[in-house]
Amino acid sequence: MSNDARTDDDVYLGLQQSEEFAELRTRFRRFVFPLTALFLAWYFLYVLLSTYAPGFMGHKVLGNVNVGLVLGLGQFVSTFVITMLYARWADREFDPRAAALHARVEEAHR
């Protein structure tokens, strides 16, 4: 039992230290962490604009609709766009690579 557990841990360690796995993780971090920071910054920017640039936010675009309202509704739209970007990236970039890694490990393990 304990022997099995050790070899098993070794396999995991091996995979974790492998170049492919490191690359996969770096790719994920390079995309996801900046994306998260960017979209949080965008929400916080809106709050700042509302406070310190009321003239800009109050600028009438069409009838009673001002910039603030447009940007406010834009927050929902942008949330949707961000989620879509992430989903597309994961479908096209991340999943195929993860699957390829999976296949290689499977092969090596046989």
């Binding site: 099995d4 098993d8 841990d9 396999v11 995991y12 360690l13 995979l15 974790q16 796995f21 996969l24 993780r25 994920f28 996801v32 994306l35 998260t36 979209f39 949080l40 929400y43 916080f44 709050v47 700042l48 509302s50 406070t51 009321p54 936010m57 603030g68 406010g72 509704l73 927050q75 929902f76 739209v77 949330t79 949707f80 961000i82 989620t83 879509m84 992430y86 989903a87 994961a90 479908d91 999943d95 993860a98 699957a99 890694l101 999976h102 490990v105 499977e106 393990h109």
Partner: protein
Amino acid sequence: MGRLNTAYGVVAIALVCLVTLAVGSFGLRLSRTTSDFYVAGRTVTPYRNASAIGGEYLSAASFLGIAGLVYTNGLDMLWFPVGYTVGYVVLLVLVAAPLRRSGAYTLPDFAEARLESLAIRRLSTILVVGIGWLYLLPQLQGASLALEAVTGAPGWLGGLVVAVVVVANVAAGGMRSITLVQALQYWVKLTAIAVPAFVLLGAWFSDGAPGPAIARDTRWEEPLNGLAGQGHPVYATYSLLLALALGTMGLPHVLVRFYTNPDGRAARRTTLTVVALLGTFYLFPPLYGLLGRVYLPQLPDGVAADTLVLRLPMAMVSDGLGQVLAAVLAGGAFAAFLSTASGLTMSVAGVIDQDLLRRRLGRLTGEDFSAAQGFRLATVLAVVVPYVASRVVEPVGLATMVSLAFAVAASTFCPLLVLGSWWRGLSTSGAAAGLVVGGTLATAAVGITVLAGPVPGWPGALLGQPAAWSIPLAFAVSVIVSLATPGRIPRHTARTMVRLHTPEDLVLERG
């Protein structure tokens, strides 16, 4: 304002309750295994799952609370719906995939699997139950308010109705029946808030689209006006936004929904649909707030702003139509209380049953009880405590109460989940210290706000919206203590991390 005809309201609410029970018992026949019971066998399609998430997430705070907040405090309050939606995206990109791969059913399961410590599991259990109760409380208060406003029933009745229906459904059917009920309830809620909104907008246009009568304060239309009694609106808004964005991942009833997805692709489809569904719904509550400013510039004394949505139709259109619309809205509001309360109860009861009750019951009865009986008892416990609290605690506003639950979740589970899935250096001591510090600080701030009422100046702002300081502090404590106790890093961390970050069908599963 005409007098409300009680009959319509009673019929609408009774109908929603009965349909909920009927659909729930239909789901009962479908639920066979443990996995069915807790996570609906992971076989729910993305679209139905998204409807269910939307159904579960749109609570009393969304249906009644936001309109009330916009009405009293102005347009800043739009931050609530934006924050509620953003939380889902943060959850998706940062923790959803590793969590699903961990194979755990609940937050305590994940905590134990990642940190290999029973003590951490116990801490998480206490937090799940605490956050769940904090979130159930406003649902039950909202039900009491709504029933009282629509039918004049005594204040204790509305919460009791919701409590009884929820216990019946959860105890009987588990997750699969709940999923069906909640998917249905999203569409009930959207219809119930949208149709009256269009009728009322029509009435407003035919009145010549009058502007709001800003009776109380001319600052109402301005952003960050500080009307919410917060002396420091920029700080308060930032802190709130942070709590909502980072707290969603720590809500027990939200997270379990990501386990009901079969794979990562489905989880992403689900989230995309959820964001669209929530965004659509959230267009309406602010509309009620704005119309409220026009037609009901002054609510009678002793009437909670949270009931604005229900009162507006009677103030705007002819008696008969107004009564029908008010009844539709009341039915929708009840759908909101029921679906959110069901999801929360399911999660809290699951944890109470698994971690607190099972062994004790076994000892008391000499193993003479079935697993189902234990879960049913846990379900009753999960609902009775917040119900009693909802009768004792002075209401502070539905959305405010909910945001406090978010703050506690963000100060505890957010550091645990983010560091747990992304940092190999997290030690058992570090995680425990983070949970204790974040949990204690946020809970203390919440306790003071709820029990002692508003405090003036900076201390009040800091206590009223603790997230902006309690989240970074919890992160810092976790990291510093982890760095100081490298010997307490769980033994199988490397193995766990690979498991969390590679596709679930990976070869190593067989190890």
